[in-house]
């Protein structure tokens, strides 16, 4: 890999040299010194620049209209009281931010998001790592396992929610029926209708759906660790658990860092599962941040100003947490090397 890249680089350098000298020489020869080389060269460069800008123009246009401008507009609207319908609106300073601070349901939704995130970080990542370690060896059926484990993540949240809502169905759903048939009938209950269990029921579904993702990334990370390191450790008489603690985990740390951030971001932004399974209920037991923002903007009394403020607050929280954890991962890696 590396040597190929170095080779390619070397070839590129030598090509640049010939590329520069050949046209120059040709130009000078043709015009018998009339036109200085550099000017002819820059005209060509200008043409190249224009082509390049034309190549990125469609992307740039979409990006400006649908990413940059909306982002700026959200910041602006978060300081207004616009309801999304009226022709006019007033600046209200930081009122929306103060209102968010006092909004108990909003903080409840953040809390719910954090619960989903912590459960995912521990269980989903743990199970993903376990499965990846189990599959990462010359194992009969490795490809089949990998294929099957990644089926749930490719399904849409709405489809997964529809199926699981039916499995959780209180009266004749698969889960309660099974509990009754094995003599644990007292445990049967409306899993999604009971405020004490609803969030955990959703958490279970999101873990079921999500495990395949960290599994795949961890597997890629494990396969990047050279077998020779293991071999050497074994020759020195290291035990299996020693190898795991002193080789596998440290070498996997960058991957664990990235997977943690992605898992955290994904869990905090859970939306499809919730809207299709409970709609945030019962009461606000499964209210999650994105659902709260969605309702603020498109609910009974639309308030785009408030919804924008919420989305800025939430975005900054997510950004802050991901930056801190990426920084910590990077630092711990630097310390090692």
């Amino acid at each position: 890999m590396n040597s190929a890249r170095v080779l390619a680089k070397a070839q590129r350098i030598s090509l640049v040299e010939t590329q520069v000298s050949a046209p120059l020489a040709a130009g000078i020869a043709k015009r018998s010194g009339q036109l200085p080389g550099p000017r002819r060269f820059s005209r060509r460069r200008r043409a190249e620049m224009i082509t390049a800008y034309l190549f990125i123009l469609p992307t740039l246009a979409l990006f400006s209209v649908f990413s940059v401008y909306p982002f700026a507009r959200t910041v602006e609207l978060s300081f207004t009281d616009w309801d999304g319908l009226s022709r006019t609106f007033n600046g209200v300073g930081l009122d929306n931010y103060f209102a968010a601070f006092r909004d108990g349901i909003w903080w409840g939704s953040i809390w719910n998001g954090l619960i989903l995130a912590v459960v995912a970080l521990v269980l989903m990542q743990g199970l993903g790592l376990l499965l990846a370690i189990a599959v990462d060896r010359k194992l009969v059926g490795q490809t089949i396992y990998r294929t099957v484990f990644y089926i749930p993540p490719i399904l849409s949240g709405i489809v997964v929610a529809t199926i699981w809502k039916w499995l959780y169905e209180p009266n004749n759903g698969v889960i309660n029926s099974t509990l009754e048939s094995i003599g644990l009938g007292e445990l049967a209950q409306p899993w999604l209708g009971n405020p004490a269990t609803a969030l955990w029921a959703i958490s279970l579904v999101s873990i079921w759906q999500g495990v395949g993702y960290p599994f795949l990334l961890f597997l890629a990370g494990l396969q990047g660790i050279s077998g020779e390191i293991y071999e050497a450790a074994k020759m020195d008489g290291a035990s299996g658990s020693q190898i795991f603690r002193t080789i596998t985990i440290p070498l996997l740390r960058p991957v664990i860092g990235i997977v943690s951030v992605l898992t955290f971001l994904g869990a905090m932004q859970t939306f499809n599962l919730v809207i299709a399974m409970t709609g945030g209920g019962p009461g606000y037991a499964t209210e999650v941040p994105i659902l709260h923002i969605y309702r603020a903007a498109f609910g009974g009394t639309p308030d785009f100003g408030y919804a924008s403020a919420l989305s800025i607050i939430f975005g900054m929280m997510l950004f802050g947490v991901s930056m801190i954890s990426l920084y910590l991962t990077r630092r711990s890696r630097d310390e090692q090397s």
């Binding site: 620049m49 992307t59 959200t74 010359k138 489809v159 529809t162 950004f319």
Partner: protein, 294 residues
Amino acid sequence: MTLLSTKSSLPVSRPTRRAAKRLTVPRVFLHLGLIAWGLASILPLVWMISASLQTNAEIYGGVHLIPENPQWGNYVRAWDQSSFSDYFFNSVLYTVSVVGGTVLFASLSAYAFARMQFPGKRVLYGAFLVFLFIPIPGAFIPLYLVLANMGLLDTQLGYILPMINGSLPVAMFILRAFFEQIPKELEEAAFIDGASRLQVFTMIAFPLARPAVATVVILTVLGVWNEYVLASVVFSNQALLPLQVGLLSFQGSYFSQYGLMMAATTITTLPIIIVYLMFQKNIIRGVMAGAVKG
């Protein structure tokens, strides 16, 4: 004990290799655990298909996997009722358009970023990556306003364009990495023959990037087919809804008819599973490429 180095192809290590394939007791438990999780991964889908072939009475009668008398009629009714077939074809239209737009725009710009020199290149690419990485929760609010201003609310274009924009950063990231790996000599030869940049791109670089394009196509297909939030914000006209939003409104009208609902869910899911099984190599490669972006 079973971790083999690449050197294992040497004849000396033959016995070790054979040992790796032998079924030992821990190995049996390992397989049992993996099979258990594999079953857990697909059982809900098996239940979905099984229920889609049962009558309501059968479903309410108790849990069993094999339908007594397969009710294929559930599929016919789900397809015909409440414009479910419209949702399906809408999803196909959106998926094809977004994939087409994404591949076209992303490959052009990725090529420019990989191969051409122009002022502002670093700043622009940095900006794309920042938007790829920064989460913008609730981006659907300002998008709604932009679309309203442009008169694109509740139109097909009003959904397709933002969806293309949403798929562009990852697509560009994958394609740019690929274009950078293509040896420059191939292009230089064409330039010497008098080809223009556009010709080099369309006739040399783009065809060579086919594996990366395939990855982008698959990831975009998954993303568009499964998308829910933006569609629910953009569309109020029932006739324009894609499958995911349609499925949820279908549930509202037929919530007690599980057989019918599961038939609709199966129709929504089957295409994506077929695509996955056909192109899983590209998907897995794409997931890994997408994650390294951090």
